[in-house]
Symmetry: C2
Subunit: 211 residues, 2 copies
Amino acid sequence: MGYRFPMNQIASSLPPSRGPADHNVRDQIVEAAGEHFSHYGYEKTTVSDLAKAIGFSKAYIYKFFDSKQAIGEAICAKTLSAIVVAVEEAVAGAATPTEKFRRMFKTLVSTGVSLFFNDRKLYDIAAHSAGEGWPSARAYCERIRQILTEIVREGRESGEFERKTPLDETVHAIDLVMQPYVNPLLLQYNLDLVEEAPTQLSNLVLRSLAP
Amino acid sequence: MGYRFPMNQIASSLPPSRGPADHNVRDQIVEAAGEHFSHYGYEKTTVSDLAKAIGFSKAYIYKFFDSKQAIGEAICAKTLSAIVVAVEEAVAGAATPTEKFRRMFKTLVSTGVSLFFNDRKLYDIAAHSAGEGWPSARAYCERIRQILTEIVREGRESGEFERKTPLDETVHAIDLVMQPYVNPLLLQYNLDLVEEAPTQLSNLVLRSLAP
DNA sequence: GCGGTGACTAAAAGCGACAATAGTCACCAG
DNA sequence: CTGGTGACTATTGTCGCTTTTAGTCACCGC
């Protein structure tokens, strides 16, 4: 039996869903939710709306999801996954760890901001998710940290970055620096810094990584 | 004629007040506001409450302040000044620029957090102020940046910090790093990081400043 | 003029009745 | 046993109304 989520999707540690994992109807729900949430927002779409959209009763939806929030989580995970994918692609296209880090940071911010402006409703879900510490948001931050760790590790191995400080500590500190731009909840308060921050902070971080 | 605010107070660039600058009644208003806001919060205290507390009519208060918000600003400025003073003292007690920076960051966070837990009502005003970009909050951030600039400048002169990158840029980047812990609006979202962040981030910043 | 106010208004907060919604459950069809 | 639902409830949101509240102004006593 396959895992509950498709490959590059962010998997919640404790999936708050029920019913069969891969089921046509489940996908239909997620799809309908994606459109409705994106159009009318999380609050303004009722579970009945989703039921109507896929031609089933509201009660049937609860065979697949524990709660409306669980549906929100699924959408949120999908949204955040898109950012992760963008970051992964940007990183893959860079040659050196230094460049990887720069691109990672920049892509992270720019996709986040673009989500904010082009898909505000979905962004709001993500922000809310981060604020409440939902698994989807946690998993997202965790994934970003992993990518970061990989970059730093690679940089250390190639001798491009210093090797004195403990890896975990370094990564954690850099993570703290990026946090205000990674976390959707915080990003919205830093929109005015979004132009300068990635470059300036990348410079600072990279200086701190110099061997 | 003296300036509108006592020496180590944060002065708004465009003082949104009216009436004589140093007037007994003005001080009484500020004092009463300090107590009421701190006790019952900004929203729950009415201007009439303040008037009653000092034994004058509500209308008279508006001879000294443009609006309730202006009174809020005064209180906010006072509150934030206290943080600045704490930071200045901590910095003054340190020998090297490195140590000054460490203490600055640490004091900033710890006084901010202590404000959050011990004077929540006042903290909320400060957070609101920062969110709305009131002059008092701007001035506070500006003052923090000045102190930071001074430390970096001193460190550069003494050869403790690198001198290659432009001073402004360096300071700005460090400022960005500290922002989530300086800005009361942001600090409240980072309370769980408050233990580790100052040390970890200080380490990172200082590594980036190494000559 | 200076120190001070009550009476007014426009806008917003508070409130209670009512409607919409999340979530459950017993039950039905094949 | 799988696939599916209508009818129910407890909670939450919303709407219109009343009360408060920020802010003004003309005016008073000295």
